[in-house]
């Protein structure tokens, strides 16, 4: 076993062991905290498809996180108020079914990523960062000023949405749902990185000229990567909204985009399990440092500076060494 796969097992194992211990010790708050880490990890793994594999520095992934959140919020709110989402041309009601909500969240964010990616990817570098930020901010202000779904106050859902055969209000059961989804996502992204598409995408990140010389246009590779990336982050948004039973425009804010990026950078850009470690560390810091001081972000900032200046590969770079070839 390589050091990287040993670290993968350790990270995924710790993320499972902590809530299981908390369950045995009857510490529901710790289970909720772990669930947050798992959901953030999914969002980070999603961003990493664009940022790590494709080299696309998206500063607007809050857009997809928020869309997933609002997909849950809107569908569940209509279900709990017994109203229809649309009456014309189709009569569509709300739903309290998690799988259905996930499907809507994933499809909506994938379509948004396809459309906004098609526009944003005409630019590169700093302009790409700015245009993705701008699209997310557009949705942030739109959500604030749209009174139908709560505007600035957001939407509250009284009862967590349902999953067949499980009691989702039980923290450990909801954790299990999220953990299984993380496992599926991270395994799928691992396969993606070692696939034909992954090989060409990662080559484009290193050298676009090389990819053109072998006959591929980087644009289409980036667009697919961005779409997959947005879809995964959208799923995380739906799970996050369900965890809190609440959605608000904050999910669309640039701080959210920044936090998702922090998970990736802390963990190790381009390492499939990196964002999982990054999100877990982030939650740990938030909990431990947040207990010490309201201004814990100062310490987080100092740590990020340290990572960017001295440990480019993040946690994975430090502990697992240089990236091995996939497959």
């Amino acid at each position: 076993m390589t050091r990287e796969s040993a670290l993968n097992l350790a990270v995924m194992g710790a993320l499972l062991a902590v809530p299981l211990w908390a369950w045995a010790a009857d510490e529901p708050f710790l289970i909720t905290l772990s669930t947050r880490a798992v959901i953030f990890a999914i969002a980070g793994v999603g961003l990493n498809v664009a940022l790590g594999l494709g080299g696309l520095v998206s500063f607007g992934h809050a857009l997809f996180f928020g869309l997933g959140g609002y997909a849950m919020g809107i569908l569940a709110w209509h279900a709990q108020t017994y109203t229809n989402v649309t009456d014309w041309p189709l009569v569509l009601g709300g739903t309290k079914s998690m799988p259905l909500i996930w499907l809507v969240a994933v499809i909506t964010s994938a379509l948004a990523a396809l459309a906004f990616g098609a526009l944003s990817l005409r630019t590169a570098g700093v302009y790409f960062i700015m245009i993705t930020l701008a699209f997310a901010q557009m949705f942030y202000y739109f959500a604030i000023s749209w009174p139908a779904y709560g505007g600035e106050d957001g939407l509250s859902i009284y009862v967590r949405n349902g999953f067949p055969g499980l009691n989702t209000m039980d923290p450990i059961q909801y954790f299990a749902i999220c953990y299984v989804l993380l496992l599926i996502v991270v395994l799928a992204v691992g396969r993606l990185a070692g696939s034909s598409f992954g090989l060409v995408l990662r080559a484009a990140r290193q050298n676009e000229e090389r990819v053109r010389a072998v006959g591929q246009a980087p644009y289409r590779l980036y667009l697919l990567a961005f779409t997959i990336s947005g879809a995964i982050t959208g799923l995380a948004g739906a799970l996050f909204a369900d965890l809190n039973r609440f959605v608000s425009p904050t999910m669309f804010s640039w701080q959210t985009s920044g936090e998702i990026m922090i998970f990736v950078i802390l963990g190790g850009v381009g390492r499939v399990y990196g964002p999982v470690a990054g999100a877990a560390l982030f939650i740990l810091l938030e909990h431990v440092l947040g207990g010490l001081s309201e201004f814990w972000h100062i310490y987080l900032g100092a740590m990020l500076l340290g990572v960017v200046l001295f440990a480019r590969g993040g946690i994975y770079g430090l502990l697992a060494g240089r990236e091995a070839g996939h497959g």
Partner: protein, 251 residues
């Protein structure tokens, strides 16, 4: 005489007041090595970029396999069978030697949209990649990261990746640069045999290589082709000698 595979007619490119290509007409026929020589700053790289599709000419056309490709992208021309090696190595530096070669083989096969296969275990691709590495003498370096190769080895890898594309023509921009005497000799031998597979447009500074390999030579000076012909004619050409070769190099 056989139809040219690559046919460049009246290519002109200006950068502001500078004329980098002036009415260049050049062709490449099946089975030949056509060398393009010229002093530094003559516009060789600008010409290669226009042929490969990285630069659009102001006027003139590039025909490839009988089709006007002047407006096609680099990627489209590569798919039609233009195998290019770069003057300054352009490879995926974090990849291993083998991964770079598999990348070429994969793009040639055209199955880049497979999302969940294991590309580095694909026997068909590995066979093509390893054969190409074998041909240029890099087989033993297959597991080495490209960034750790010497400059000469990177040139060899460029050639290997071009081979995996099974191209109709090779555009080679100074493939000998950075190779030692032994490496050059081996590559000359290899390229000499390669012309039977596909013709080569060879941009090269190494005159020994040019004169031992080329069937025809074109001389580019200040963006203009001042002479084209068989090696013997070029060696004997007074204008060329004055402009480029220098009298002391004359036989």
């Amino acid at each position: 005489m056989a139809e040219p595979i690559l046919d460049i007619r009246g290519l002109t490119k200006h950068f502001g007041g500078l004329c980098a290509s002036r009415d260049i007409t050049l062709d490449l026929r099946p089975g030949e090595i056509h060398a393009l020589i010229g002093p530094n700053g003559a516009g060789k790289s600008t010409l290669v970029k226009q042929i490969a599709g990285a630069l659009v000419p102001d006027s003139g056309t590039v025909h490839f396999r009988g089709q006007d490709v002047t407006r096609l992208s680099t990627a489209a021309r590569a798919r039609m069978g233009m195998g290019r090696t770069f003057q300054i190595s352009s490879l995926a530096m974090e990849y291993t030697v083998l991964q770079n070669a598999v990348l070429g083989a994969l793009c040639h096969r055209g199955t880049v949209w497979r999302l969940f296969d294991r590309v580095m275990r694909d026997k068909g691709l590995l066979a093509v990649a390893e054969e190409a590495l074998e041909q240029v003498g890099l087989a033993e370096f297959r597991a080495v990261r490209t960034a750790e190769l010497s400059h000469g080895q990177r040139r060899q890898l460029e050639v290997a990746v071009a081979l995996t594309l099974r191209p109709q023509v090779f555009l080679m921009d100074e493939p000998m640069a950075g190779l030692g005497a032994e490496g050059s000799r081996r590559l000359i031998e290899f390229l000499s045999g390669l012309r039977a597979t596909a013709p080569i447009l060879l941009i090269e500074h190494d005159m020994d290589a040019v004169f031992s390999l080329a069937d025809r030579v074109s001389v580019l000076v200040y963006g203009e082709i001042i002479a084209t012909g068989p090696v013997a004619d070029i060696r004997a050409n007074a204008t060329v000698r004055a402009a480029y070769l220098g009298e002391e190099n004359a036989p």
